[in-house]
């Protein structure tokens, strides 16, 4: 019993090995920094809220763009038409047979044959140039097969279908009615770039907010830092709790940002469903994807650490050892 007690005493008299000590120091810094934040919950929450909103803005915009992308490739695809203009020497029977063939293809929802005569009738009725047509000796309009792709067909497959159909010998020219879809994608590309730029600017804002908060923290704990310097604490030891503080702010801000985006998605879900319904689509709103959420958390923590590091390396050296 006594020998066990003395061997125990010997063991605790030794300091732990350095990896154990490092782990122990980190656990202590982690606990201390959390404790310090918990002692002033209002200030902590306010700072976390500012960071949360700052991170939520790019995250929300990202979600918006992702939703528009999805809308572009599903709901809008419902209105997508392929127009196949047939050669003039393809007669009506062959044209109708071809239409039935095309309708059976995978990826095609329906196909409709419009003869040259029907096209002329439609043109006369809707264009207002009817009289002008009478001046022409023969019908200038080609026969057309209007193909509706299966709704939700991916963009690449739609383009492949267009290529296949335009290769048919009877088809003089094929046209995908996708101008405005392409415009949408171009706009989204632009918006995505803008989101990146906004994100970069706001990341800088998060850095400054956390840096400033940690600077005030250092200011408030000058005395403690002075004493730590006096008794020979290493700069790394003094720095550590502040870096954890930055990390916690970033983490809390990231969590709040994710919550805000999800709340926004929930609030917009119903009107979005109604809008999608108008486009004959069942598509609901997408929330923040898992990898995007991870990115928000990661960005928050990374920026928190970096902001704290920035503040600490600028201000810690200025604190004189007490007294």
């Amino acid at each position: 019993m006594s020998s066990r007690a003395s061997s125990r005493a010997r063991r605790v008299a030794q300091r732990p090995s350095w990896p154990e000590r490092l782990l122990q120091d980190h656990v202590r810094a982690l606990r201390n920094s959390l404790g310090a934040l918990a002692r002033k919950p209002v200030g902590t929450l306010l700072t976390a809220f500012v960071i949360g909103i700052t991170l939520a803005l790019p995250a929300g915009l990202h979600t918006l763009v992702a939703n528009l992308h999805q809308a572009g490739s599903s709901a809008l695809q419902g209105t997508l038409r392929l127009s196949l203009f047939l050669d003039d020497d393809v007669n009506q029977a062959r044209g109708e047979a071809l239409t039935r063939e095309i309708a059976r293809r995978p990826g095609v929802s329906s196909a409709q044959y419009i003869s040259r005569a029907q096209a002329l009738e439609e043109f006369r009725a809707f264009s207002g140039f009817g009289e002008a047509l009478d001046l022409l000796k023969e019908n200038p309009l080609p026969a057309t097969v209007v193909v509706t792709p299966r709704s939700g067909l991916p963009r690449v497959e739609t383009e492949a279908l267009l290529r296949d159909l335009s290769a048919l010998p009877e088809v003089a020219q094929a046209k995908l009615d996708q101008k405005w879809l392409e415009r949408l994608y171009a706009i989204l590309e632009l918006v995505q770039r803008a989101v990146l730029m906004i994100a970069a600017a706001l990341a800088l804002a998060v850095l400054v907010v956390i840096g400033n908060t940690v600077r005030l923290d250092i200011e408030n704990r000058r005395e403690e830092i002075g004493i730590l310097k006096l008794i020979g604490a290493t700069p790394g030891y003094i720095r550590r709790p502040f870096l954890y503080t930055g990390l916690w702010y970033g983490l809390a801000g990231g969590a709040l940002a994710c919550l805000l985006v999800e709340a926004g998605v929930l609030a917009l879900a119903e009107p979005a469903r109604q809008l999608a319904g108008l486009y004959d689509s069942q598509a609901g709103l997408l929330g923040l994807r898992f990898d995007a959420a991870v990115a928000v958390f990661g960005a928050g923590m990374g920026l928190g650490w970096l902001g704290a590091f920035w503040a600490v390396s600028r201000h810690l050296r200025q604190v004189e050892p007490a007294p």
Binding site: V12, I227, I231, G232, T234, Y237, A322
Partner: protein, 233 residues
């Protein structure tokens, strides 16, 4: 016996200010306890600050524990300071931490385990007679008790050298004597102690060497000669 502190013709001034100490040479031997006396502003504190590398001398050489302080780079200062226990007239405690946590600081920065810290802090608090107050906060303690907490913090990690600047400055004579006896007890177990004080009547009753500093220059006396100011070394 080896020296733990060795000053060789050291001068110091803060910035462009007046010379605080000039051409001071003295040694403190390992295991010795000595008093540093002199009127306020004579340079006692500066001498201690120079020893703990809280300031660098403008001229001269200081060797502490066999290391020339001029060779110690800024990043080596923390490790150097961990060899020295420091206490001041103002014990500079953290008022938002308990007595226990204040005394534990030097062990925390050295990475001692929690169990070990508990044992050593209680031993140090016991030595200064404050074990029952471990959970108290500094502001609820008397000046003398706060001073003793500061001393416990200075010795808890068992540094080979203890520097005390006016540790009895705001204590009544009885408590001042207790604090001095505390330093003597540490000295008996091998700690080298240098105490800056102007409590001349108190230390005249103690057997230790007295280093007297006045106008930045130094005289060393035996305690008996202290009052007469006649014979000098």
């Amino acid at each position: 016996m080896a020296d733990i502190i060795h000053f060789h013709r050291v001068s110091h001034r803060y910035g462009d200010g007046p010379q605080i100490i000039s051409d001071v040479s003295f040694t403190l031997r390992k295991g010795e306890m000595a008093f540093l006396t002199g009127p306020s502003g004579a340079g006692k504190s500066t001498l201690l600050r120079l020893t703990a590398l809280l300031a660098r001398p403008t001229r001269g050489q200081i060797v502490v524990e066999g290391r020339n302080l001029a060779d110690i780079k800024p990043r080596e200062i923390p490790a150097f300071r961990r060899q020295i226990g420091l206490t001041f007239q103002n014990p500079s405690l953290l008022n938002d931490r308990s007595v226990f946590d204040n005394v534990a600081l030097p062990l925390l920065i050295r990475g001692h385990s929690g169990e070990d810290i508990g044992r050593r802090v209680r031993a140090a608090l016991d030595a200064v007679g404050l074990l029952p107050k471990e959970k108290a906060f500094p502001l609820t303690l008397s000046g003398g008790e706060q001073q003793r907490v500061g001393i416990a913090r200075a010795v808890v990690a068992k540094p080979p050298l203890l520097l005390a600047d006016e540790p009895t400055g705001n204590l009544d004579p009885h408590m001042a004597l207790e604090v001095m006896q505390l330093f003597m007890r540490f000295n008996e177990v091998g700690v080298s102690v240098l105490v800056a004080t102007h409590a001349v009547s108190l230390i005249s009753r103690l057997p230790h060497r007295v280093i007297h500093i006045e106008h930045g220059s130094l005289e060393q006396r035996r305690k008996a000669e202290l009052m007469e100011k006649t014979i000098e070394f």
